[in-house]
């Protein structure tokens, strides 16, 4: 039995939470976030935008790792390429007449093309499993090492200096041409709303994608690539397409990060940076995009808060927290938390916890 209608497009077996109550919750959460700038301080809004901008890279990794079963260790290559791409194009074009959007688009095309190239190279070359991880890691480290030594004035593209390890700066923020001449710069509240809106669009699009035929085939490939191939699916093409989408989303994060701080650096493609998205996605519960998204924001918030409050113990405490998550919440931070809260709520309301009810699906199958 399958429900029809527009809303049902976003639901299905590949997302953990579906149905009317989740939709309500989602709308409430988005509204709650969207109204933060109305009462919160400038800094809080700015910081929240910063947390959100990383989630695109995590969502992309969730798609290719959690859904398609490809562990990429090099999403930061796309992040960095997009960041530098935005820097080079926007510095050369300037920020008049909304030209920054040309830079935005150009900087999205670059990682998409790179991902297509690498994806073709890997998946059509029969590279699988950990080998994918090592190839992608090598690529991001090559980028990092190369960019780090471009300090001299001879390394420039147009009027944009690459500036080596110290990083490229001076790129304009995104601007929107507004009625009456004056361009509006996306900073503070406007930047936050823009990131939030983009995130909602990307999230819904991914919900639709993973629950579509395409998404189901991806999961089938994850579970058993050989069987999927036998059933007539072009495994390599599916993997390449998923990889391109994941790379492009990493690029979105790269662009947003670059405009947020007017700065992009080779270390954002280094080993530590490359490991972070994997940590967020793995700890959050990689097989669900909602879980990934919530966990990413949560973990970035925790690590920042610890750095503020924990002094030199911050990194140790972060390590302990991650260790506890892995040991106590095998299904991922978010799923485990929801399950835990649910258990408490049920106990408080005096209803018995029926395991069958836990597993029961919201809709008929």
């Amino acid at each position: 039995m399958r429900r029809t209608g527009l809303l049902a497009l976003f639901d299905g077996p590949q997302t953990a939470w579906n149905g009317m109550s989740f939709r309500l919750c989602f709308v409430l959460a988005v509204l709650a976030l969207a109204t933060v700038p109305l009462y919160a301080e400038f800094f809080v809004v700015n910081n929240l935008a910063y947390f959100l901008l990383w989630t695109f890279m995590a969502l992309g990794l969730s798609l290719i790792w959690g859904y398609a079963g490809i562990l990429s260790f090099g999403q930061t290559a796309f992040f960095g390429l997009a960041g530098y791409g935005y820097g080079v194009v926007s510095i050369n074009l300037g920020d008049a007449h909304g030209l920054t959007w040309v830079a935005f688009l150009a900087a999205l095309v670059l990682p998409a093309l790179l991902a297509a190239l690498i994806g073709y190279f890997m998946f059509y070359g029969g590279i699988r499993d950990v080998f994918v991880g090592i190839v992608t890691l090598s690529i991001t480290l090559v980028f990092e090492t190369f960019m780090a030594q471009t300090a001299g004035p001879e390394w420039h593209i147009g009027s944009a200096r690459l500036n080596g390890f110290n990083g490229m700066s001076g790129m304009p923020a995104l601007t929107v041409p507004w009625f009456g001449g004056e361009d509006v710069m996306l900073d503070g509240n406007t930047f936050f709303w823009f990131v939030l809106a983009l995130l909602v669009v990307v999230y819904l699009a991914l919900r639709w994608l993973v629950n579509s035929r395409f998404g189901n085939v991806l999961v089938a490939i994850r579970e058993n690539p050989d069987r999927a191939e036998m059933l007539g699916y072009n495994v390599r093409r599916y993997q390449t397409i998923a990889f391109v989408i994941g790379g492009t989303l990493a690029g979105v994060s790269g662009i947003l990060y670059t405009t947020w701080g007017s700065y992009i650096t080779p270390s954002s493609m280094g080993l530590t940076s490359a490991a972070l998205p994997i940590i967020w996605v793995a700890a959050g519960g990689r097989k669900d995009i909602t879980a990934t998204m919530v966990a990413t924001v949560f973990l970035i918030w925790v690590s920042q808060t610890l750095a503020v409050k924990g002094a030199q113990y911050a990194l140790v405490l972060m390590g302990v927290l991650l260790l506890l998550v892995v040991l106590l919440a095998p299904e991922g931070l978010v799923l485990a938390t929801v399950r835990g809260i649910r258990r408490v709520v049920l106990r408080v309301t005096g209803r018995r916890v029926a395991t069958t009810a836990m597993a029961k699906r919201t809709e008929g199958s």
């Binding site: 149905g19 409430l28 959460a29 530590t272 929801v338």
Partner: protein
Amino acid sequence: MKRMNRFRFKPTLCATAIVAGSLFSGAAAIAADPIKIGLLEDQSGNFAIAVIPKIQATELAIEEINAKGGIMGRPVKLIHYDTQSDNTRFQEFARRLIQQDKVNVIFGAFSSASREAIRPIMDRYKQLYFYNNQYEGGVCDSNVFVTGAVPEQQFSTLIPWMMEKYGKKVYTIAADYNFGQISAEWVRNIVKEKGGTMVGEEFIPLSVSQFSQTIQNIQKAKPDVLVTLLVGANQASFYEQQAAASLNIPMASSVNVGQAYEHKRFKAPALKDMYVTANYIEEIDSPESNDFKKRFHAKFPDAPYINQEAANAYNVVYLYKKAVEMAKSTDMKAVRKALESGDICTDGPSGKVCIDPKSHHQSHTIYLVHVKADHSVEIPKVWHDIKPYWLGQAGCDLTKKDDTSQYTPSNPPKK
């Protein structure tokens, strides 16, 4: 295919989640009487070794100032965030200091990359910022003051001295990034100017920790002087490895010993015949220095070493105090104006140092430090009051024209 467990999503859960989400909003900062100094320094991670003395020196200076009644009668409050040797932390916390804590001034940063990460933020919000660290030079930025030593101060003294003493053939190995490349450019120019020759120049990625090939290359080139501009823990391994291979060539550097006290950490004779120009090291035996060490060790008895960046970090607090007192206000424009008066000086651990109005940099006493075979040090020469002359000569004049660029000898300001 395994089916995922699913739940009914209850509105109660939903409310809990949203309440949890609202935990993000921090408490509003309360405007109060004290002068607030923001400090961004790496207490953890890669750079902690050279940075911990900086943090201690800053705390010491603030404690002293508060004990003597603060600045214009107002107490000084330090807000320090641990930036964990991570550029993104610098960006996050620079914004936090400016927007949430609303500090009067920001000090700190060790690596040039972290300084470049926060400079766009300082410029966007016109925040007064002091970079209190030795670096590759050339930052000409209206909102930024630099109190560390720069190449013209360290190399115009060091290189001619070395060439005179040991010979005119020079080989440079340098970390392959901005600091190393720009410093190497300075060395190259000075060697040429003084009639010497570069017999080799090699740039080494920061991740490299194995140097056998480099050691062979140096031996083949037979230099009289080896300039080592190596940075970070990985590259520091060079010294032990060159000693093990009996390289035996006098070395010159602007970064070692003064920052991460390699002569204390490595077994002798790894740094034998290393010459460094530093604006301060713990071994300096002068009344100012000895007094500073006494106060430092009284507050931090376990401090392993007091490096030159500690002296820079200490001076910066007093320079800021002088500037505020002259401006009679903490208003950033007024303080900047006072700093550009040319009369802002302080008597620090290495003697009198002053801010140069044009370039926003600082004059230094430069000590030539010689590490002997047993790793004890001697100071064969001292240059007093070396000015940060290059930026001003090249055409950076922040008293007349605002700027936010970083220049190098091969990429000077456009006139």
